[in-house]
Amino acid sequence: MNFSMQNVIDGQGLEITIVGITIVFSALAMISLFIAALPRVLTVLDPYLPAAAHEHGHASPAVPPSGEDERIVAAIGLALHHRQQGG
């Protein structure tokens, strides 16, 4: 192995470094700007591309809890609270 700064110069190390870091930063900065602008762009596109049309979710529609369910949830919460209190 030959340790020398001349190796860096001969290999165009500084040029590759400067160009490389510049390109990486440019690419990610452009992505960052795009992401920042995206919510506003989607607001403008809302009339043509409504959010609901793209929600392909397969989840069942939310069902409001019945009175019985609320009592069960409250009982579970109380039990957990007592357990955490060491009861």
Binding site: G13, V24, L28, I35, P39, H54
Partner: protein, 384 residues
Amino acid sequence: MELLWNFLQSTGFAQMTFGNAVMIVIGLVFVFLAITKDYEPLLLVPIGFGIIVGNVPYVATMSLGVYDDWTGPGGLQGSSVLSLVYFGVKYGLFPPLIFLGIGAMTDFSTMLSNPKLVLLGAAAQVGVFLTLLGALFLGFTPMQAASIGIIGGADGPTAIFLSSQLAPELLGAIAISAYSYMALVPVIQPPIMKLLTTPEERRIRMKPPRVVSKRERIIFPIAGFIICTMVAPGALTLLGMLFFGNLLKESGVTERLANTARNALIDTVTILLGFAVGASTQAKTFLQAESLLIFGLGALSFAVATAGGLLFAKLMNLFLQEKINPLVGAAGVSAVPDSARVVQMVGQQADPHNMLLMHAMAPNVAGVIGSAVAAGVLWSVLVQ
């Protein structure tokens, strides 16, 4: 009697060299560490066992090793099974397929909710280029130096992809170095994080990330791919597969494809990739002084990448009203999700109620993109 003598001469015992024995022991050590210490077992078990397989000696006329391929006198019929498996490494097929799986399991929503953290993923890539300079200084060729530098991207498939294209003779040492240091992220990063930040900075709390809509998560992989590859076309292969996998996941209409990509496909390719990399790591290329230099440079690249992300976060804080916890910058080292977990751990040492994990995931996944762009740039520049 002569037949028996010839057979005995063809056994591994008769062919064994000191280098073969050392490499087999190294393979055994990797398997041991993976199983008993849980050091990146999904990679080190295949790599370690591959090293053992690739270093059992055999008679030269038998076509058994990874390098006994179709370019030999026997053509395709004379090529070994291991060489056919190694095809995926040699011609850069396996790493993009792994990126497909990574994209199908990555959630970019933390990055989408706080886009300025993307720049921390870019800043961490300084480790790649400063290590490249160090490798050049030590006498490596530019292609070798680039392959060594990409270790700082902390991305195994990217390191294997680039070194298979630019410096295949160093592939084994680079792959082992990259995966070893990825496993050592919890050891390497915390001292640097504490050295470069004050206790007050480590206690900075960040605003909870906003909710990201499904449309944003669908549009991002398409737009992100176009933006990155227009800037750096050399990253086409890796980023194309990464963002394609992510689109499979986020579109909501290709769930079985996404499921296959992030489970069966990535597991299959990981097995073949690790095994082939290990089998290609042979004594005559691995047991050199260069390998020690590569391990040293690998450690340096991780340290510089950590420092780069941290210091850039502190620089950004000079201009921001809502401060970033600079620890989050260390997660720009794209060892997903280990470096984000390290940020959470170090942050909680300063403030036990400070939840930094989701914030750290933003530069963590941005670093995956950044390291792929860096690899694309290096490939484009050095192959021309």
